[in-house]
């Protein structure tokens, strides 16, 4: 009896970062049977660790800082995208455009003062994204078509807004966002704060837990009378906030905003979420996992960079990594069921 309890407890510890939580979200694994995900992570991580440790200049404080800093911008958006994926809305293809518009709004409103500018930028990101969430949540709109449409609309707004030329700020109060604290850029602290907030939201609030339920089985959630629409809007609103934070940092970092400021943010964020092991079908995943995914991508890119590989190789490895994790997560979800 005690031994059985013990093994169960350790299994719970192994699978869930938070054993006090009575909803072990990524559950489904029986004790003592290494799932394909475990195997895949060992196969992937062990060589990486060896490779990393044997790489010259990898184990330095500066390099650690560089890794964290490079993970921050994409990471913040990816944390928000995690909620949207968990709630079952798959992905948004309007991220880059939204971040760009937020960045422009932030720079243009600098004359109001730093805090009002930040608030306006946040509201802008939240509203733009939550409206899309409402269409997905209340109308069951297809998120891909919807976000392509939203991407066009927001992109058009950005072009119209800027007249196609870079937007320059009226004051340079925003440079505080480029400061470093204890050797780390502020964006890293923002990433950590957003992660903690998202984790708390998902695990400790009614809405967060309902996101998992809605994402796993929308029909069941509807039949049970759960507020599917409201929960979906909340997830998207949080996502919008995260995009806005990224936009603010992007604007501060570049000190100007062009139409192409968002760059490849859309797909980079999705890649980080997927590498974290969140399933695109929804209902599982966590903010901590996504943080791990973003860091892992960052570490791999860093190792490849230090070893002299090209950017192309970094992207190639990232793509293969996403592919392997997607397959492993899928096998783990379906095994034991079929």
């Amino acid at each position: 009896m005690t031994s059985a309890d013990g093994s169960r407890h350790s299994a719970a510890l192994a699978t869930h970062p938070d054993p006090a939580d009575p909803t072990p979200t990524p559950g489904g694994r029986l004790p003592r049977r290494p799932g394909p995900l475990t195997v895949a992570s060992v196969v992937l991580l062990l060589p990486l660790a060896v490779l990393a440790v044997t790489t010259d200049r990898f184990l330095t404080l500066d390099n650690a800082r560089a890794i964290l800093a490079s993970a921050a911008f994409v990471g913040i958006t990816a944390i928000g995208a995690t909620l949207v994926m968990i709630v079952g809305s798959a992905v948004s293809l309007a991220v880059s455009q939204t971040a760009t518009v937020v960045a422009m709004v932030f720079l243009v409103t600098q004359h109001l003062g730093l805090l009002p500018a930040v608030l306006v930028a946040l509201v802008c990101g939240v509203v733009l994204t939550a409206v899309q969430g409402a269409a997905v949540g209340y109308w069951d709109a297809n998120p891909i078509v919807l976000t392509i449409a939203a991407g066009f609309a927001v992109g058009a707004a950005a072009t119209w807004f800027s007249g196609g030329t870079p937007v320059y700020p009226a004051s340079d109060a925003f440079v505080v966002f480029n400061r470093t604290l204890l050797g780390l850029p502020l964006s890293v602290y923002a990433l950590l704060a957003v992660t903690v907030l998202a984790h708390w939201l998902l695990r400790r609030t009614t809405a967060g837990r309902q996101m998992y339920l809605v994402g796993e089985n929308r029909a069941a959630a509807r039949a049970a009378g759960l507020p599917v629409g409201r929960v979906t809007v909340l997830a998207w609103a949080f996502f919008g906030g995260c995009i806005a934070v990224t936009g603010i940092f992007l604007a501060s970092f570049n000190t100007a905003a062009t139409v192409t400021l968002g760059g490849t943010l859309t797909l980079d964020a999705i890649a980080a979420v997927l590498v974290g092991g969140t399933a695109i079908a929804g209902g599982r995943g966590s903010a901590l996992q996504t943080l791990g995914g973003a860091l892992l991508i960052s570490v791999i890119s860093d190792v490849l960079l230090l070893r002299g590989y090209s950017t192309g190789m970094q992207i190639l490895v990232k793509g293969l990594l996403v592919l392997v994790v997607v397959i492993a997560v899928h096998l783990r979800t379906t095994r034991g069921w079929r």
Binding site: A90, V91, L93, A135, Y138, W139, D140, A141, N142, I144, V145, L146, I148, A149, A150, G151, F152, A153, G155, A156, A157, T159, W160, G164, G229, T266, L267, I270, A271, L274, I280, A281, S310, T311, G312, M313, Q314, I315, L316, V317, K318, G319, L320, V322, L323, V326, I327, H330, L331, T334
Partner: protein
């Protein structure tokens, strides 16, 4: 054509969008103040050639209820391979590109059908990996294509408005229209997209069809990329997401639904032509760039509204409430 023929969205959407865009194209001199020339039509068809095969590649996967994001990656790789393998013989370059595209598609199709994984994350991963591969192959820079004869040939004017490139693209649409319209494959594809369980029960070989479909999609995308690279005399390692988005818009305007089960190559043709013509209109009338984007957004918003089940439920609910209100029962039965 009769009203019933037009009532189906896979016909209504492409017919209406092509008609509207054609009307706008013909009317564009009113804004630009310049007569339309044959050259404008040629340019529009060149735009169509650039987008068409990609739209066809993604469109046929959407008909089967899948979404192949990797087509842009295959598109870029196709261009890269054609440029490097086709320096002396352009045909060899095209063949290499098409073979590679087909192989990539077959592997993806095998994964998606065999493991029953949703296609989006798989093709997204492949897209990223292919992007990396083209960057590795090219060193991150555009690769120029030295064979200027081929470059001149693919864009040579034929009959005033066509070029070999646009004719090949048109040919691919027509060939696929014949294949899907004339054989059992067309209805099987739509059945797989419409109701996969029922397709299996009635005896459709779903897995086989999916592998074939992704192979074809990869080959078409690679062909499109190869032709584009010849035309530009260079291959771009990273075309960005824009071609994918435009191809998806063309497919959606062509009457294909992301939910699957709907659409045909001729509809896709109309969708791709609409998008290409629209781009040409913007060029000739010198409208601001964002006006196209706003137009796309509006068109897609209409599609979203038509295809949202929750919106239909809301409408049903309101109707039922209205039907209910006149006859409220005065008191409960004893």
């Amino acid at each position: 054509m009769s009203r019933a023929w037009l009532a189906r969205p896979e016909r209504l959407m492409p017919v209406v969008s092509l008609a509207v865009v054609l009307a706008a194209f013909v009317a564009s001199p009113l804004v630009s103040g310049r007569q339309l020339e044959l050259f404008d039509a040629y340019n529009a068809l060149q735009g169509f050639a650039q987008l068409g095969l990609l739209a066809l590649a993604i469109g046929i996967t959407m008909i089967a209820g899948e979404f192949d994001l990797s087509v842009v990656g295959t598109y870029a790789l196709g261009g890269m391979l054609a440029v490097s393998a086709g320096a002396t013989s352009p045909l060899a370059g095209v063949l290499a590109a098409v073979a590679a595209g087909a192989a990539i598609g077959a592997v993806q199709g095998g994964l998606i059908a065999g493991l029953r994984i949703p296609s989006m994350p798989v093709t997204l991963a492949t897209y990223i990996a292919l992007l990396g591969l083209t960057n590795v192959l090219s060193g991150g820079l555009s690769v120029t294509y030295p064979n200027s004869d081929a470059t001149l040939w693919v864009d040579k004017t034929i009959a005033g408005i066509f070029s070999p490139r646009s004719l090949v693209t048109l040919g691919a649409f027509l060939a696929l229209a014949l294949l899907l319209g004339g054989t059992r494959l067309g209805r099987e594809l739509r059945a797989i997209g419409g109701d996969r369980r029922a397709s299996r029960v009635t005896g459709v070989r779903v897995d086989r069809r999916l592998v074939g479909l992704f192979t074809l999609s990869g080959a078409l995308a690679a062909l499109g990329g190869a032709l584009l690279a010849y035309s530009y005399a260079s291959a771009n390692p990273d075309p960005g997401l824009q071609p994918l988005i435009l191809a998806a818009v063309a497919a959606l305007l062509g009457g294909v639904s992301l939910a699957g089960g709907r659409g045909a190559p001729l509809g896709l043709l109309a969708g791709a032509l609409s998008v290409a013509l629209l781009a040409q209109i913007v060029v000739t009338t010198a409208l601001p760039d964002y006006s196209t984007q706003l137009l796309y957004a509006a068109l897609l918003a209409v599609i979203v509204a038509i295809e949202s089940p929750g919106l239909h439920r809301t409408v049903d609910r309101i109707r039922a409430r209205r039907a209910d209100s006149p006859r409220r029962y005065p008191c409960p039965k004893p």
